[in-house]
């Protein structure tokens, strides 16, 4: 479990502009589906490390990328390996 910062956007277009800007920066980031615990206008969020958040937000602001919100949340375990393990796999695979 790790603490991540999620930044959301009102349009996919801004999410993709954010991605393009971060790609050319040394900052660590990932484009991820918006976690259901957050309400957002578009389906993609930018996830970055919490200590980088001010830098990321400054970069976006300087380049005219409008953000909707930013949230610090514990990383959820998306992979759910238990459900898909051989031992306990779906019925049709057995």
């Amino acid at each position: 479990m790790a603490l991540y910062c999620y930044i959301t956007f009102s349009t996919t277009h801004y999410a993709l502009r954010a991605e393009a800007l971060l790609k050319n920066s040394p900052l660590e980031y990932k484009m991820v589906p918006v976690p259901r615990s957050i309400s957002s206008s578009c389906g993609i969020a930018l996830r970055c490390l919490c200590p980088d958040r001010p830098q990321v937000e400054r970069l976006l602001k300087e380049n005219g990328v409008e953000t909707e919100g930013s949230y610090e949340i514990e990383e959820k375990d998306f992979s759910l390996p238990r459900l898909f393990s051989k031992k306990e796999g779906p019925a049709h695979e057995q």
């Binding site: 349009t11 277009h13 991605e19 991820v32 309400s39 005219g64």
Partner: protein, 389 residues
């Protein structure tokens, strides 16, 4: 007939062939099982999102538009022009347009006028297709909201004085809508040098992309009423269409394979150089006009100054109906061109070719001098045959 020749002279309708990477990009997009742009956040959707984003960026770079988010995709230029006209105008507005406009402008305006919502004034044009700018200057009214400019005529090849007209309109506080269907990819369309309020373009002509890839640029600060509402993948809880651009004017699934091809079409133009494409097309028009003018019974229309035109040339042959001439050119010589009124009846009235129309020849970057010579030879043969008949 020579199979080595490119006898396709209808690039003003849709360009052919496309640069090789255009075909490949569209196919890869279809085969790659990319997701629906904007819908959900899985990796395939993200790939499609990136593609749409790249398409917007590519167009913004090409037209010198500062914010790619102000470009919305549409079915084609007609769709974009409808979006602009119906999204901007309100009851009581007055609109100026020119005789060079296409039915994609004339009909939406005509519909609104017949419904009693707007009034319009047509700016007449010379037989060469140049608008009467003094008439335009006198025609701005208190309620004039919009000036529509067809950047280049699809009948005569005339390039209209975009900057001069836009400057005049802005001086009167009137918004400018440019129809760049024939000019984009043929001549520079630089919105940084000539700011306009809206620009409609199509992807399948001079931009060398697939059909179904038009769009509209709307300047920052200008909010259009959406004329199509529905799914955007964003703000899904709302029962009203979102107001954020570009989704504001984009509802429903986008044509991602088409946009993938369009990106490659524009990249081809940028890598080749628009100057080089333009120079070749001017040379072709010059040669075409010179060769046709030598033929007995041929009348060529539009400006004689080829340097100021796109590669579009209209002509008629005395004693032969233009529809019949087009048929003979294809059936006996394998030449593809378009005949008739070309969806621009007022342009033909200005040129003096209404209602009979013309034969329109529109070579492209992949047309050679040899192709032009073959075509001129065919017309000469038909002319000689007709006179002997």
């Amino acid at each position: 007939m020579n199979s080595e020749l490119n006898l396709y002279f209808d690039n003003a309708a849709t360009s052919w062939p496309k640069p090789e990477p255009v075909y490949g990009a569209a196919e890869r997009c279809l085969r790659g099982s990319w997701g629906n742009p904007g819908r959900s956040g899985h990796t395939r959707t993200l790939e499609a999102d990136r593609l749409v984003y790249r398409a917007r960026e590519t167009l913004a770079r090409f037209f010198h538009i500062a914010d790619p988010g102000r470009i919305v995709f549409a079915l084609n230029a007609t769709d974009a022009l409808n979006m602009a006209i119906k999204g901007l105008l309100e009851a009581g507005d007055h609109v100026l347009y020119t005789a060079m406009d296409h039915n994609s402008v004339l009909r939406p305006l005509g519909g609104l006028r017949r419904a009693g919502l707007i009034s319009t004034t047509m700016i007449p044009c010379s037989p060469e297709g140049y608008p009467d700018l003094d008439f335009m200057e006198r025609s701005f009214q208190r309620r004039t909201r919009l000036l529509v400019i067809n950047h280049a005529s699809n009948v005569l090849g005339t390039i209209l004085p975009l900057k001069e007209m836009a400057t005049a309109a802005h001086r009167h506080g009137v918004a400018v809508l440019v129809d760049a269907s024939q000019s984009a990819g043929a001549v520079p369309v630089d919105l940084a040098a000539a700011p306009v309020d809206m620009l409609a373009f199509t992807g399948h002509k001079g931009l060398l992309g697939p059909p179904g890839t038009g769009g509209l640029y709307v300047r920052p600060g200008l909010d259009l009423k959406p004329w199509r509402e529905g799914g955007t993948g964003s703000h899904s809880e709302m029962d009203l269409h979102p107001e954020t651009m570009p989704e504001r004017l984009e509802a429903g699934t986008l044509n991602s394979p088409g946009l993938a091809g369009l990106i490659e079409g524009i990249k081809f133009i940028e890598e080749t150089g628009l100057d080089k494409i333009r120079a070749h097309e001017v040379t072709l028009r010059k040669r075409l006009r010179r060769k046709l003018e030598e033929i007995k019974g041929v009348t060529v229309y539009g400006p004689a100054d080829d340097d100021r035109c796109t590669a579009v040339l209209s002509f008629t042959l005395e004693g032969v109906d233009c529809g019949e001439l087009g048929y003979i050119l294809e059936s006996s010589f394998g030449i593809i061109c378009r005949t008739g009124l070309h969806c621009a009846p007022l342009a033909h009235q200005a040129a003096g070719t209404f209602p009979q129309g013309t034969v329109r020849l529109s070579p492209g970057y992949f047309t050679s001098d040899k192709d032009v010579d073959y075509l001129a030879g065919a017309v000469a043969e038909i002319s000689a045959f007709t006179r002997a008949r």
